[in-house]
């Protein structure tokens, strides 16, 4: 039997030895963003699409009113989610008190539902069994992705095709790593390899690395596993592991969401190739405030939009949905609710919208399930909760409300509105991964939009484009 203290000491030391070794060992070239799911624009983006994101000094905060409306809708959801989170224990107690008449099985079921919704432990055998299965699935799912990538000449993720001259070696390296993962052998080494590869992706810019951030989720668990991992059955994640998985995964989706707004062509390209992803009822809620501009008739994806900003509004809604989901999971606010929602979305993308091409989504699904079915959930707002609970116990209701609403409002503004406002300052002409305007569409409009964007980039603002609409 291996002594636990020896397992922990050795794994930490060898992890830090492994990381630089595998960074140096990775010499393959890869170019990014040619995925199996087609991202190419099928139809050119109209000028209005770009106008939507430009600064408009005559409007509030210099943002397009529809952009602000979508941002506000998401902020409102975030605000109320946080407020409800702070009050969840009190609401739960009130509900339990009122439901004591039910008794027996009904009360037991309600208890379990409440525990699930509020991230409390669900103490049921079936839940425990499913939790163990989810962890087993999560720890082995990267092997599926690696095998799939290797068989399609890509590096780690199908997104990054290997340079042909070195593809042979790295395909087999990936298969070797996949075998280690499947057999759960030397997991800290597997974690170091994944982490090193992720650091290597920075060579092609932060966008690539952000895109691959979710892979760190499993690297965290591998790195904190015992060296003799093949001899022990890892079926549970402890509180620290769950926390770091939650933070890493959530942060990955958070940044990926913002990336969709900045690097919009790829998302629009996917939508044009797979229009069914635009028919998501959940996104409708975020576009409600935008009025007719947001009421997308998705058949219009094939033709010119009914409203000039329709496509852009859908994009922002889609991106901010990912931002808010990622933020909630990262901060541990209604982790199970938001995590479950994301599992449903990814499953729909995999089974309905994209099909086999997006089978690597199995990995984030597995990661989310490992979190959703964990009984070791914690949150990052605990200190704020302690403050407001202390105020409540002292009878200072006004102070309690101020803490809760103030924190929720500040977070909503900082997490949604401020970055959205900041994104309007970003000069899209300079973004190197966006195809040049001339390649997107033909005709005189190309010249005009290019001229305007070039003019405005001298002052790093897009003021000159306002009147083009």
């Amino acid at each position: 039997m291996v002594r636990p203290s020896a397992l922990v000491r050795r794994s930490t030391k060898r992890f830090w030895i492994g990381v630089p070794f595998f960074i140096l060992a990775s010499v393959a070239l890869c170019w990014a963003h040619e995925r199996f799911v087609s991202h190419h624009l099928k139809w050119p983006l109209p000028p209005e699409f770009y106008h939507f994101f430009l600064r408009k000094p005559d409007q509030f905060l210099g943002m397009d009113s529809n952009l602000l409306k979508v941002g506000l809708a998401v902020s409102v959801v975030l605000f109320f989610s946080l407020v409800l989170w702070m009050f969840r224990q009190v609401l739960e107690l009130g509900f339990i008190r009122r439901m004591h008449w039910a008794g027996g099985v009904i009360q037991d079921i309600m208890q379990d539902v409440l525990a699930f919704l509020t991230d409390r432990p669900v103490r049921r055998k079936w839940f425990s069994n499913f939790s163990e299965w989810a962890v087993i699935f999560f720890l082995r799912s990267p092997a599926l992705v690696l095998m799939y990538s290797a068989s399609n000449d890509s590096l780690v993720m199908p997104s990054y095709p290997l340079e042909p001259s070195s593809a042979y070696i790295f395909k087999y390296l990936q298969v070797a790593l996949a075998l280690l993962i499947i057999t759960q052998t030397f997991l800290p080494l597997c974690g170091a390899i994944i982490f090193g590869t992720w650091l290597y992706l920075f060579k092609w810019g932060p966008t690539i690395a952000i895109d691959a951030m979710p892979v760190l989720t499993v690297a965290v668990v591998y790195a904190t596993s015992p060296w003799m991992s093949h001899r022990v059955a890892i079926t549970r994640l402890n509180e620290t592991q769950v926390r770091w998985v939650r933070i890493t995964l959530g942060a990955g989706f958070f940044f990926l969401g913002w990336l969709k707004i900045i690097n919009h062509n790829l998302v629009v390209g996917v939508a044009q190739n797979y229009p069914s992803i635009t028919n998501d009822p959940a996104l409708k809620a975020f576009t409600l405030l935008a009025g007719p501009a947001g009421s997308s008739h998705f058949a219009s994806i094939y033709d010119l939009p009914i409203h000039p900003y329709e496509l852009a509004i859908w994009l922002v809604s889609f991106a901010l949905a990912e931002v808010i989901c990622g933020f909630m999971v990262a901060t541990g606010v209604f982790t199970r609710v938001w995590g479950f929602f994301m599992v449903a979305v990814f499953t729909k993308l995999m089974l309905v919208d994209f099909g086999w091409s997006e089978i690597p989504h199995i990995y984030p699904i597995a990661a989310l399930m490992a979190i959703v079915f964990s009984n070791n959930l914690t949150g990052e707002f605990q200190k704020i909760e302690d403050l407001e609970e202390a105020a409540a116990r002292e009878g200072k209701k006004a102070k309690q409300m101020a803490i809760i609403t103030g924190t929720s409002a500040a977070v909503a503004l900082l997490v949604i509105i401020f970055p959205l406002w900041a994104s309007t300052h970003y000069s899209r002409v300079k973004w190197k991964f966006a195809p040049p305007i001339q390649q997107q569409y033909q005709g005189t409009q190309a010249h005009e939009i290019q001229q305007h964007l070039t003019d405005s980039s001298h002052g790093d603002s897009m003021v000159g484009c306002v009147h083009h609409h």
Partner: protein, 243 residues
């Protein structure tokens, strides 16, 4: 409610108990109602006036263990009075129609701040409970199953006897609503061992075992233990090793 019955407040003066009683609110619960749920926020102390409750603990894997059975005059949820923001460590469910009185943490805090000696007296009463907990742990470590089982049966018989006296019932003392699994959990043993010893106690005329199915043909049978001689049962742990 007469707070002098509750061991937590028995050291308080009559005036203090009277003032405290004004802060209580009562609630009726039907049989099988959940009073406290494990892992939820703890905000109040409960005093059992009528009926009985059981305290259960559920593990992560869904295994449920019966920790205690309480009768009139008992209290539970006392940690919430002192430790602010704590969550409940176990669940409490009524085993028959019951009346409970609730003391909110905030009200008790204000009362204790205005009457500092109350906190000292409550702390002393809590120490008594802590000591009993220590004794139980020592029993678990050093005493064998028959001893622990007899002790527990004696406590349960005590509970039933007090209840019968308060409600004016006459007749046999019957320990009800417990299965072999429940008894096994209470004494830290397994069902088969407990059944074997119960049969031995039946032979020794300490208790009479009856099996009752209250929930239909497919329900798990519950034990009814008719106490033959209350005094013998209470003193039996002293002599168990001689039998």
């Amino acid at each position: 409610m007469d707070l002098s019955r509750v061991s937590l407040f028995e050291r308080l003066t009559d005036e203090e108990r009277k003032e405290l009683a004004g802060l209580l609110s009562s609630q009726k619960y039907k049989e099988g109602a959940l009073v406290i749920s494990q892992d939820t926020l703890g905000e109040s102390l409960f005093l059992l006036d009528q009926g009985s409750v059981k305290v259960t603990l559920r593990t992560d894997k869904g295994e449920t263990k019966l920790l205690n059975v309480m009768g009139p005059g008992s209290f539970f949820g006392e940690i919430a009075l002192i430790e602010e923001g704590s969550t409940r460590s176990a669940s409490v469910t009524t085993t028959e129609p019951s009346v409970l009185w609730e003391l909110n943490q905030k009200d008790f805090r204000e009362f204790a701040m205005a009457n500092p000696p109350v906190l000292w007296k409550v702390a002393q009463a809590l120490c008594v409970r802590l000591r009993k907990l220590g004794e139980t742990m020592a029993e678990l470590s050093f005493r064998d199953v028959p001893y622990r089982l007899l002790k527990r049966l004696g406590d349960l018989a005590d509970l039933e006897k007090r209840r019968a006296e308060e409600s004016g019932e006459k007749g046999e003392i019957v320990i009800r609503n417990l299965s072999s699994d429940d008894l096994a959990a209470l004494v830290g043993s397994d069902r088969d061992t407990v059944r074997r010893h119960l049969e031995r106690f039946d032979d020794l005329d300490l208790v009479k075992i009856k099996l009752v199915r209250s929930g239909g043909l497919f329900s798990r049978p519950k034990l009814e233990l008719v106490v033959q001689d209350f005094t013998s049962l209470k003193r039996a742990p002293e002599f168990i090793n001689q039998w």
